[in-house]
Point group: C2
């Protein structure tokens, strides 16, 4: 199948992220409260009227497990009286659910079904203890084969990703520690980041022991993104609506972020099947690589040298390590070079996760994809505040479901 | 928002339904086995090559609860080696999940993102006993408010739908019994129907007591669709691909079923909020009515007189009773007239559920929407076998999530 570019532009008018440091269960709040705050926040930020929203797409991983609540799309209609009758849906691909919801909304706008869509990623995870939550996360993998009866299956799976790099190319844990430290450092600049007030340093990330325990294989506590509650909403629009909106807001249309390209690929769900399939290949996760090159192709980009920054899926340090070479910032297996040379730091050639990413900003699973898209839009419109990448024009996102199973890439830019 | 007709035709090349009488847990089979049989069956039926499938959309309500497995979209890639890297996603709106998956696939084809999509609805429900399964179904409603601690919440909610009709217009249970009997009767003609060999009669449906217990309010056992396991897959295609496929199959393009129109609306999730909102209105579920009239408008139809048949969501007899007047087969509140006059029987003016519907054919939740679309396509292409409606040209489907919360309507026809 040839990678086709879309015929219709899809704009990101703006959005809203909840404070990922909050624990909504402790506040005795239902998941709908998260949805409400993000939705009303996005409307207020963009000054889009509730009656202008024509459809709502919700990204959520496992509300049935964490909150004993399915059918989350439907909860949107209760948020504002103008939403009565609004078409709604929930979309899921584990930790890539937010991006999957965005893809569905974009397709509808490109098809001319609707002009304005609310895309809302949400997950309330602090309803259960970390062991039980870890078991729930196991349903993003092949539960029966990879997670049942396994304590914290996902750190172990992403530990294996590191091991695979080690086997093929060599991998030093100090480079993973540096990735962690950069994400924590960036998060201090982000007023919505979960870890913004936490102590963390490169030295701490290098240590192992009581204060930085191994969670699964080579993955230590500082290599992990942390469980949290959160929601992030963005408002997508057709060119027709964006033009009217730009006039009303007094901004030029070419200053409004839009989706320049996207990629969407799925690898076998079992981690061992993934590495067996990529045996002897350059890229450890070739389908993730393909999602990235599909996005470059659709956006008409030659490669990462045309990106200003990347918001990637660092559920663990190993997945960011993988993203570095898969995006083409280095040759395959040489991600450590970009880490050592400061390429991925704010101020570097291609900052990764200026927001703090999943490790620093937090990873409320279903919200991550929309949070990444929101951050990409904020960056390219110069609204990212203290974590702004100077002069950002094009920002890529990579959102991953399972152990590298579903990969969704977006490239967001202005004109 | 104006209801826009699509600019690109979406064709239904065919598909496959598993035998809804099977209990896959008793066969010691994982949910992926259901997905595999439906997918391979759809490929075989349509003679579409696995390598021609460009994207897969899975409709599933609550795999996380029934099967402790999320991320079901990803399981498709393991079904055939040609599926490696295939973009996949799972979509959910409770019992309307199958139709929500279809809407997502249609939008992508209309947008020109892909030419050929696999849409697969699936639910394995016999993994748990009926009480626990009833509790899981409660997550399709507002669980905390309407289902927590309630035994079999959904019969009670749809009993209230009957009560609301009774209050507004009067409702005789004998008409509900007739609806049940017709569905069971039709199911005997359907080789994949769950109840095809069960004894049921109008007299039995009228009785109350040991052999036809009340489950919730006025809802008796014979008013209910039954829990089962099942999957149904359809293959959707763009006009460009359908034209090539028609040539290769030696059929005329205008004999291939296509989506003529669709509607998608959401009512408040709580049942009491729905009836409060429709107080004093003609239609008890005005958003369901709107989904139907949106579909008529998009299909360019004046009303139900242009329909050959309807496959509707009779999770309970009351929801089919509601569908009769909401589709406009009678004036509001007069559905009983269509029941008495034989309008909805095979051979009647507008047969409803020639397949047996959810009550007769079975209701594996996530599969129902795609099963309805498959049956609609089989009808309009004259391939419905013993339950064929003579000369069917246009068949509508109504798929409902929750207590009338998400409504998705499709109108499928030839040319």
């Amino acid at each position: 199948m040839a990678t086709r570019r879309s015929t219709q532009d899809v704009y990101i008018l703006g959005g809203y992220q909840t404070d990922f440091a909050r624990n909504w269960s402790k506040e005795s709040k239902h998941v709908v409260a998260l949805m409400r705050e993000a939705t009303l926040g996005a409307l207020e930020q963009t000054r889009v009227e509730p009656a202008e929203i024509e459809v709502a797409h919700v990204g959520n991983f496992a509300g049935e497990l964490y909150c004993m609540q399915g059918h989350l799309g439907a909860f949107v209609v209760d948020i504002d009286p103008a939403f009565r009758g609004l078409p709604t849906a929930r979309h899921e691909a584990a930790c890539a659910s937010g991006s999957i919801a965005a893809l569905a909304a974009e397709a509808e706008i490109e098809a001319g079904r609707y002009d304005v869509a609310l895309v809302l990623g949400v997950e309330q995870m602090k309803t259960v203890d970390s062991k039980r939550g870890g078991d729930f996360l196991g349903t993003a993998a092949w539960y029966e084969k990879e997670a049942k009866g396994v304590e914290f299956p996902f750190p172990k799976l992403f530990g294996k990703l590191g091991d695979e790099y080690d086997r093929r190319y060599g991998l030093k844990d100090e480079h993973l520690a540096r990735i962690s430290a950069i994400n924590y450092e960036n998060a201090k600049l982000n007023p919505n980041a979960q870890t913004r007030s936490w102590f963390m340093s490169y030295d701490h990330a290098c240590s192992t022991g009581q204060y930085n325990a191994k969670i699964g294989g080579r993955i230590k506590l500082t290599d992990c993104s942390q469980v949290t509650d959160g929601a992030a909403a963005i408002i997508l629009a057709s060119a027709e609506f964006a033009e009217r909106w730009a006039k009303r807001m007094g901004v030029a249309l070419d200053r409004i972020p839009k989706v320049l390209g996207w990629g969407h690929r799925t690898a076998p769900i079992e981690f061992s099947a993934k590495t067996a399939q990529s045996h002897g290949m350059q890229y450890v996760l070739p389908h993730t690589r393909k999602a990235i090159t599909d996005a470059y192709e659709r956006a008409g980009l030659s490669g990462p040298e045309q990106l200003s920054a990347i918001e990637t899926h660092d559920c663990f340090t190993t997945s960011e390590y993988m993203a570095i070479d898969h995006f083409g910032l280095t040759a395959p297996g040489e991600s450590w070079k970009a880490v050592e040379q400061g390429v991925i730091e704010i101020g570097g050639k291609c900052p990764i996760n200026p927001s703090g990413g999943l490790i620093g900003a937090g990873h409320p699973v279903g919200a991550t994809g929309t949070r990444q898209l929101l951050d990409a839009a904020l960056q390219v419109s110069g609204q990212a505040g203290d974590y702004q990448v100077d002069g950002a024009k094009r920002v890529a996102t990579l959102n991953i479901g399972g152990s590298g199973t579903t990969s969704v890439v977006h490239i967001v830019g202005t004109a």
